[in-house]
Symmetry: C2
Subunit: 233 residues, 2 copies
Amino acid sequence: MRDRSDGRVGTQHVDVAGIDAQGRVSPRRAPVPEERQRDAERTRQHLLAAALDEFAAKGYAGARVHDIAAAAGVNKQLISYYFGGKDGLYRELQRIWEQREAAFADPEVPLPELAVRYLRDALADPRMMRLLLWRSLAAESGPPRGPGGEESAGMRRRQARGELAADLDPGAVVLMLMGAVAAPVAMRQMVWRVTGLDPETPEFEEYFAEQLGRMVRRLTGPDPGSNDAGPPG
Amino acid sequence: MRDRSDGRVGTQHVDVAGIDAQGRVSPRRAPVPEERQRDAERTRQHLLAAALDEFAAKGYAGARVHDIAAAAGVNKQLISYYFGGKDGLYRELQRIWEQREAAFADPEVPLPELAVRYLRDALADPRMMRLLLWRSLAAESGPPRGPGGEESAGMRRRQARGELAADLDPGAVVLMLMGAVAAPVAMRQMVWRVTGLDPETPEFEEYFAEQLGRMVRRLTGPDPGSNDAGPPG
DNA sequence: GCATCTGTCAACCAATCAGTTGATTGTCTG
DNA sequence: CAGACAATCAACTGATTGGTTGACAGATGC
């Protein structure tokens, strides 16, 4: 047995929440009173945090296991030891992300707020969004997998509730919102050219969140004035 | 002299239009009556076309000069010979793209049509969009370069003309439209999950073009009915 | 307190890959 | 047609890079 990750596949033993927005590892590891010199879980988390930085920054092909190990402060062999190699480390990151992803998209919160929430999340820590984009671009083309058209269930409920204009298709709206949220991450230099703002500043976040909210409100219902300017005169 | 590209820097000797949407090389090369065995310009174009495919598919880090040369049907050394290496080939592609880019964004065509035009262009041949996305993701973070906030000049004219709602900032609208157009290219699997359509089919193109047009029309002026349902009142 | 397992590392290895070298052959020009 | 130059290729090279090996040392249990 030379790959410690084999036994973990399918389980969720990883401290998913242990990686904060700055990539630091949370110190809470209950059964360990003082700092040990050797701590498998701590090393795993350090590697995962460093890998998230590296893969988000350079993508899979551009990432270097040497750099990940160096950033984690451990020997690069431990990547093979814990995750079975670069590929396993990458997969583990994606697995963690898919777990978190499910917690989003509450169908009760109004659409403009939901969009803005996604935006702020992506801007506060663009690494996951970047990971998604890298993966999407790298995915070789071919027939789509999995069930299709299911994601818009909550959206269709919104529409039935009158929260979305009748002549708009929920799928298209979701797609456009995804694009709008991803745009500042996917096309950073475009932000500068188009708005004159640095996409990483809080100024831009406030500006674009406000604007995105307004735009989404215009997609809600046949009367755009009813949501942000009172009933029409 | 071992790099034929040195003498070309700054000039535009390349048959930019010679690469069509399918990556084929146009056969028109005026002063050549029959097929020669050796043809520098033809080889250059073959390499550029193959490079566009390869870089768009895998990005810079993932692209392999060997594969580019093989797809072009020539020896890989010719990449160094004509372009000074992988990097020079990549730069040349970007240079070509920047030349074409300028031809877009006519401030006279209505905004919904402009957005739809961009969308159809991106869907018909996603390679340039993919190139842009790869480059954006790979660009290391840092202070933005070049002049900022200038791109929205035409948009501001639209707003003054009343084509854009007064409470929306042109920059934010452009950014969102960019994201919406890029979304089907940048997040292909999302299209399938959200709409149930294959993003490469004409069905999807018609569907999303129609929907995008409707959404953009809702961003034009305080009265959404004024643009697609005649004058108000 | 000793044996065993787990965690860690330095050094090594094989594969990949961009780029170079030197030779070969088509093409043009006088 | 002959010399010169342009275009092309097969083989080689040096540098990365992901992964493996074998040793060693901290932790753990008896």
